[in-house]
């Protein structure tokens, strides 16, 4: 079997689906890596929920401006044509349906598109919802990037989420280290599968039933990422 995709390779794959002119919000963690991998020459506008409209690359070492951070508290730059608004304005943009795509991390996704990505119910730890729920409810398309399985090997693509939901029925596509899976009215439909991984093997790692696209492709990403 081919090696499962690395985090950067998952991010690369997700970035290939970002289109010219789209307004995109990248969640903290793996999703934010995607900003490095949009195809060259394709102009994507990255919004960050702390107010940045047009996030540019991370600041180079020694050039960080502590007054300019993104929602992941990274020291960033502004893209050409970018500007900064306030948090209430940024969430008005999110809630108002002005974000074409949000790429979010996930704990669990159900076959009906339910997303659980905010409360892992860790014992003795407090809650942290941040902007995840607003993005999951507000963006026009919610796409999830995550490992196909938990660290202990359990499934994350479920019949029904076990953790508290972030938003119901919101996810349209999932990028994992093993596959690209669409959420449709008929449940999960695999669009791309890792080379050398059989359908049975993928299903064994997935709780909910998988269907396959008539146009099933091999999941590929550049090596060395």
């Amino acid at each position: 079997m081919v090696e499962p995709l690395s985090r950067n390779q998952i991010a690369w794959r997700a970035a290939q689906d970002l289109e010219e002119g789209m307004v995109v919000n990248l969640g903290i963690g793996m999703p934010v890596l995607a900003s490095s991998y949009a195809p060259a020459g394709r102009e994507v506008i990255y919004q960050s929920e702390n107010g940045i409209v047009g996030v540019g690359p991370e600041a180079e070492a020694g050039h960080a401006d502590p007054d300019l951070v993104d929602a992941g508290s990274r020291n960033v730059t502004l893209a050409s044509g970018g500007t900064v608004i306030d948090s209430a304005g940024a969430f008005a943009m999110i809630r108002g349906g002005h974000i074409d795509v949000t790429l979010l991390g996930g704990f669990e996704v159900a076959a009906n598109g339910d997303l659980a990505n905010w409360d892992a119910q860790v014992p003795n730890k407090g809650q942290l919802v941040g902007g995840a729920m607003d993005l999951a409810f507000g963006a026009k398309a919610v796409r999830v990037m995550m490992q196909h399985n938990t660290k202990s090997g359990g499934p994350r693509l479920l019949k029904k989420c076990s953790l508290p939901l972030t938003a119901p029925g919101c996810v349209t596509r999932i990028y994992t280290d093993l596959a690209v899976v669409d959420v449709t009215a008929q449940g999960f439909v695999v669009q791309e599968i890792l080379g050398g991984l059989s359908k049975d093997e993928l299903q064994a790692k997935t709780e909910a039933a998988l269907k396959y696209s008539n146009d099933l492709k091999t999941l590929e990403a550049p090596s060395g990422l």
């Binding site: 107010g51 007054d67 929602a71 992941g72 508290s73 948090s87 209430a88 008005a92 730890k125 119901p168």
Partner: protein, 228 residues
Amino acid sequence: MIDKRVDSIEAALIDVRDGASVMISGFGGAGTPANLMRGLDACGAKDLTVIVNSLRFLEGQAPGLFAEKRVKKAVCTAARGRGKTPSDYELQWQAGELDIDMCPQGTFAERIRAGGAGIPAFFTPTAAGVELGEGKELREFDGRPCVLETALRADFAIMRGAEADRFGNVRFRGSQANFGMAMAPAADIAIVEVQAFSETPLAPEDIDLPGVYVQRIVLAPDTGEIRG
């Protein structure tokens, strides 16, 4: 002549008394009023209600608020400590000593914006139909379920800006504005610590937060280390 300057952090916070409610801006260190947060710690007021995005950032600058159990209620979007060992606020939350109103961040920002804009309540889809929205009034608009959320106001709001003038006009730089733009109008007394004070009025196009919304300006060139 209007002049909203006060001489010190202590003077800026002189009337923060037991039972006060305080909004605190800042995101990832930008716009974080580190000096005023330290002053809030030092002032000794207790039974406080804090309205702040992240309790971790509040504890970072004002650890005494939690170590001395001076916060009775927090409205926030993040109440998780950094390490595996529970923080003071996590322990107090579990013990029922600290009431936490956990809000989606957009709802948090909009509730504050509503408080300053004279809107007592609004409907929003966010959190409708999920556990976090349970107990809230539900209503459908155009077939979409929404929850009713109420405005937030406070006695005080504290934030940090780049520059201010005697009218209380504030210029933010970078991503400093974040929650402060909504918090200042939502508080009876908005206090802004600034890196620089302009002896001449700010130019119209440089003003992000009009002085109408600001009651006190305090000069604090350095933030010191911001712990989050």
